[in-house]
């Protein structure tokens, strides 16, 4: 199958547009009182980018995503997907959604689950079969395709969830806490998948409270606090500390380091920190557990060979 050209982000308007969105959850029997989940939210997500909607629990992230998907109706304001009002059913032809802690139907196998959701999107027969095979391959669940979802681990459930979100080739994928509760290896895989989606020109809107992970993959972020958007913009711009610069040097001798230090001391700038670069704990963990897995796999093979 040939690779279709990536869509340029400036074509055909923003992927998601939120205009003055307010959502108040009414308390039953007290019409005057209400819980303000989202207040006067304005957002614009361009096609082809990865946008992170961040915030603590209860900040209105999930509510915003649900309103964008037409699952909840706004009290005031409007949301659009590729120019179409979210409340229209057809706006969802272009969206795939992975909710937080999804359960799916435990008694269905991975393959059957994808077939069910594919049929809901109007796919059938050979094209559906092909799509299922490709997606199972993409998320790495081909071996587990016949197993019931009840036997899947959390990471596997998230991956099959991602596959069902992609079943109808959506232009926009919405992920609600995609890596919450997933172990480091699974979480790494999901993040890699997200970057893969981006490389194909698919817009990704995700919400997370795992900030370090979001930092790695998002192009732009918005920070919600108590339903209000307090910060928004390109990630690199937001977190860059304006007046500080980092240099990462390989194979630097102590002499070189001292020279650089003295140059800095002679200028108006100030040296704040000089230390060894560090890898992340995550990379260390993955490396260590991967080595362990390899060793065990070759042990198993050795034992298998020994068996008569």
């Amino acid at each position: 199958m040939t690779d279709s050209p990536r869509r340029s982000p400036t074509e055909a308007g923003p992927a998601v547009a939120v205009h003055g969105l307010t959502k108040v959850f009414r308390v039953p029997l007290h019409p005057s009182r209400g819980i303000v989940a989202v207040k006067e939210l304005n957002l614009r997500i361009e096609a082809g980018e990865v946008f992170g909607l961040l915030g603590p629990n209860g900040s209105g992230k999930s509510t915003t995503l649900k309103i964008i998907l037409g699952l909840v109706s706004p009290t005031r304001g409007r949301t659009e997907i590729f120019g179409r009002d979210s409340r229209l059913v057809e706006s969802r032809e272009a969206v795939g959604f992975l909710p937080e802690n999804p359960y799916f139907y435990k008694y269905l196998s991975g393959e059957e689950t994808l077939r069910f959701f594919g049929r809901l999107c109007g796919l059938r027969g050979a094209p559906l079969k092909k799509q299922i095979n490709e997606l199972l391959d993409l998320v790495g669940l081909t071996k587990a395709r016949k197993r019931r979802l009840g036997t899947y681990s959390k990471g596997m459930l998230q991956r099959i969830g991602l596959a069902q979100a992609l079943i109808h080739n959506p232009r926009l994928v919405v992920l609600d806490e995609p890596t919450a509760g997933v172990d480091p290896a699974g979480s790494r895989e999901i993040r890699d998948l997200i970057l893969d989606l981006k490389s194909r020109g698919i817009t990704v809107l995700l919400s997370s409270h795992l900030l370090a992970q979001a930092q790695e993959i998002c192009d732009r972020v918005g920070i919600l606090s108590d339903g209000v958007l307090v910060r928004e913009g390109r990630l690199q711009e937001l977190i860059a500390i304006e007046n500080q610069t980092e240099l990462v040097i390989a194979d630097a001798s102590t002499h070189l380091v001292n020279e650089i230090e003295s140059v800095i001391n002679r200028s108006k700038a100030k040296l704040i920190e000089c230390r060894k670069s560090t890898t992340t704990l995550e990379r260390l963990f993955l490396e260590a557990t991967a080595k362990n897995d390899e060793a065990r796999a070759s042990d198993d093979q050795g034992i298998a060979k020994q068996k008569p």
Partner: protein
């Protein structure tokens, strides 16, 4: 995780946007229907009820101490009663948890995040239940008819032995009597009416579950409705004819008559077994009433579900 053949996944292309969104898609509904059916057939309560029903039908074989007319009467009454109560029970119990379960498990989000109108979702769910009820009714009816046939044959064999050597027309008269006591073609429309009553109850349960807070609430309300529904005919006649009751009583009776379905209208099978023939007019009108109720309750359920915050 493999990345080698990642380029085979087709990203968004024109052929997918070219597909027009259909306002109503039968295949979408069918997908939800068959999924619901699969889900329900995994319910343990379904099998328990079915086995119970079959046992009850089978147990009425032990009525041999009576004359064959009495025996066939009891066999038919008990079997059809079993089919009636078990389809009614199944209708209520299976439907009560359908929507709440999906909402609780959050699977409803993944479904409605697809281009599936809420109406199709509700329709698919109820269609799954109606299909389940149809299968149950067929299985139990088949068992009932098999038992009836076997008993009829046994009685015929015994009678033939007893009447060996008797004149031919006497034997024929006896056989005719046995056959007419056993099988009555009007049992089939009677069973269909029983099925439609179960469909009505399923749709009504779906409606109640859209605004109920818990499963137990739905089932308790349905038990209440079942009981009142059988009294609706009496309430209706009292309200429309009695002139001496107080205002409060009349209001109360009026509410019952207007709000509750007349479930007695669907209990025709007792009289059918007694030998009353069911005319096309009676069958058609009763069936239409059942279909009318089922449709109304389904539409109202969809109406409430449309406004439901998920």
């Amino acid at each position: 995780m493999t990345k080698g053949n990642d380029l085979t996944f087709q990203p968004f292309n024109d052929s997918t946007t070219g597909k027009l969104h259909r306002a109503f898609s039968f295949s979408r509904v069918l997908a939800i229907t068959s999924n619901t059916l699969t889900e329900l057939t995994r319910l343990r309560v379904f099998y328990v009820l079915l086995v119970f029903g079959l046992l009850l039908i089978g147990s009425s074989v032990f009525m041999a101490q009576f004359s064959f007319q009495q025996e066939f009467q009891i066999l038919k009454d008990v079997s059809l009663g079993a089919i009636s109560i078990f389809t009614s029970l199944l209708a209520i119990v299976a439907t009560a948890r359908l929507l709440p379960q999906d909402i609780e498990d959050r699977t409803v989000y993944t479904i409605l995040a697809k281009p599936v109108p809420r109406f199709e979702y509700v329709l698919g769910k109820i269609a799954g239940v109606l299909l389940l009820l149809a299968i149950s009714t067929l299985v139990m009816s088949a068992a009932f008819l098999a038992v009836l046939y076997l008993r009829e044959q046994t009685v015929i064999q015994t009678t033939l032995k007893q009447l060996a050597g008797a004149p031919a027309d006497q034997v024929n008269e006896a056989l005719k009597l046995i056959r007419s006591s056993a099988f009555n073609i009007d049992i089939f429309p009677g069973i269909i009416i029983i099925y439609l009553k179960a469909c009505l109850l399923a749709a009504l349960t779906l409606f109640v579950s859209t605004f109920a807070t818990t499963n137990i609430f739905t089932i308790v309300v349905m038990a209440f409705i079942y009981f009142i529904g059988h009294l609706e005919a009496t309430a209706r006649e009292y309200w429309l004819q009695e002139h001496s009751s107080g205002l409060l009583t009349r209001i109360f009776l009026a509410i019952i008559a207007l709000l509750f379905p007349d479930l007695q209208a669907f209990n025709l099978v007792d009289d059918i077994v007694a030998g009353t023939a069911i005319s096309m007019a009676v069958f058609a009108k009763t069936a239409l009433l059942g279909i009318f109720y089922t449709t109304i309750y389904t539409l109202l359920a969809a109406f409430i579900f449309y406004g439901r915050e998920l």
